[in-house]
């Protein structure tokens, strides 16, 4: 059966390769890709923001688990003794004496931890650079947001999930995801109210001082910032929910 499947796959590949010989030249302006697909992506690509937001909400609704864990682990910092508390109502205050301990998690490596601590600010500045220069060079809101989100994920991997959850609250991430979509959709709707098309930034010119081309560039930048904020928050939400099975307490 496997050999049969392999033969079928090889035949299909051969047919596809045979078919490519009739394709138009690469970069041909009259090719269907340049005539139809490119225009579609220029006009409709901002729907990806709605897709991303829906992905974050869906991941939250499917995975989030508000029941607390039944067992808690702590370690006593001066002696290194590990305490296992089975009563779910009791808990120890975490401070200088007791620290959190996870069942599946191992303490972070010194080298990993320090290298990530040095790298994370640079990754975040790179993300902001990509976001700010997205309107006239490769990059943009989506890529900048993904890089910023992965810097937060790197924080969680190099330390532990509790460090990330303590610094970036779940509520804050939810607000950021909604705020990004609001900035993006609000800019588009403002253009619509003034009398242009959706995201027709040139129509904003009477509201603001400056040349209309500058206003167009600023409108693009504002939309990119909105997309970036939404993507950053959603990537972090998805990661936290997957890695902690929705409990937001312990994980990678």
């Amino acid at each position: 059966m496997r050999i049969l499947a392999f033969i079928v796959v090889c035949l299909t590949g051969a047919f596809l390769l045979y078919g490519t010989s009739e394709f138009p030249d690469w970069g041909d302006p009259n090719a269907p890709a340049s005539l139809h697909v490119a225009g579609y992506y220029i006009e409709k690509t901002y729907e990806e923001t709605a897709v991303i937001f829906t992905a974050g909400i869906g991941c939250f609704l499917l995975l989030r688990d508000f029941r607390g864990k039944k067992e808690h682990y702590y370690h006593h910092i001066p002696t290194g003794v590990i305490l296992h508390i089975k009563d779910e109502k009791k808990s120890l205050t975490v401070g200088k004496e007791f620290g959190y301990m996870d069942k599946e998690w191992v303490p972070p490596d010194l080298i990993n931890k320090n290298i990530c601590r040095i790298l994370i600010p640079f990754i975040q500045i790179n993300a902001l650079y990509v976001l700010a220069h997205g309107d006239y060079s490769p990059g943009g809101g989506f890529q900048g947001g993904v890089i910023f989100g992965s810097s937060l994920i790197l924080l969680s991997i190099s330390y532990d999930l509790k460090t990330l959850v303590k610094r970036v609250k779940e509520r804050l991430l939810g607000i950021f995801a909604a705020l990004g979509v609001l900035i993006y959709a609000g800019t588009g709707a403002l253009c619509l109210i003034i009398g242009g098309n959706f995201l027709d930034y040139g129509k904003l010119a009477p509201l603001l001082p400056g040349h209309s081309d500058h206003i167009r560039a600023y409108g693009m930048l504002v939309v990119e910032i909105g997309v970036g904020i939404a993507v950053m928050a959603v990537m972090t939400i998805i990661y936290i929910n997957i890695v902690s099975e929705g409990r937001h307490d312990e994980g990678l």
Binding site: W26, E104, V130, P138, G139, G140, F142, Q143, V146, I147, G149, S150, I153, I157, M235, I238, Y239, I242, V243, E245, G251, L252
Partner: protein, 81 residues
């Protein structure tokens, strides 16, 4: 001599894809997918689609590999077939 670098990268892409399908360890598969995405990113750059390459590098090689590893961390590392 002019090296056909796109052919070389494409060969590596196909090797990565076949290896990712045949490896039994799912963590290895996730890492091979990361390598696959990075090589695809190189391929997009060779073709001149820098914006697509940028997205592939950040989403494909970066975040989705981490999502795969996180999912494997919470499920099982061995595949049944």
């Amino acid at each position: 001599m002019h090296w056909p670098i796109d052919i070389i990268v494409l060969t590596f892409v196909i090797f990565c894809a076949i290896a990712a399908l045949s490896v039994q360890d799912l963590l290895g598969t996730a890492i091979l997918f990361g390598a696959y995405s990075f090589l695809m990113c190189l391929l997009w750059t060779i073709m001149g689609a820098v914006d697509v390459a940028f997205t592939e590098a950040s989403v494909g090689a970066g975040v989705s590999t981490v999502f795969f590893v996180a999912a494997i961390f919470r499920t099982s590392r061995r595949t049944k077939d």
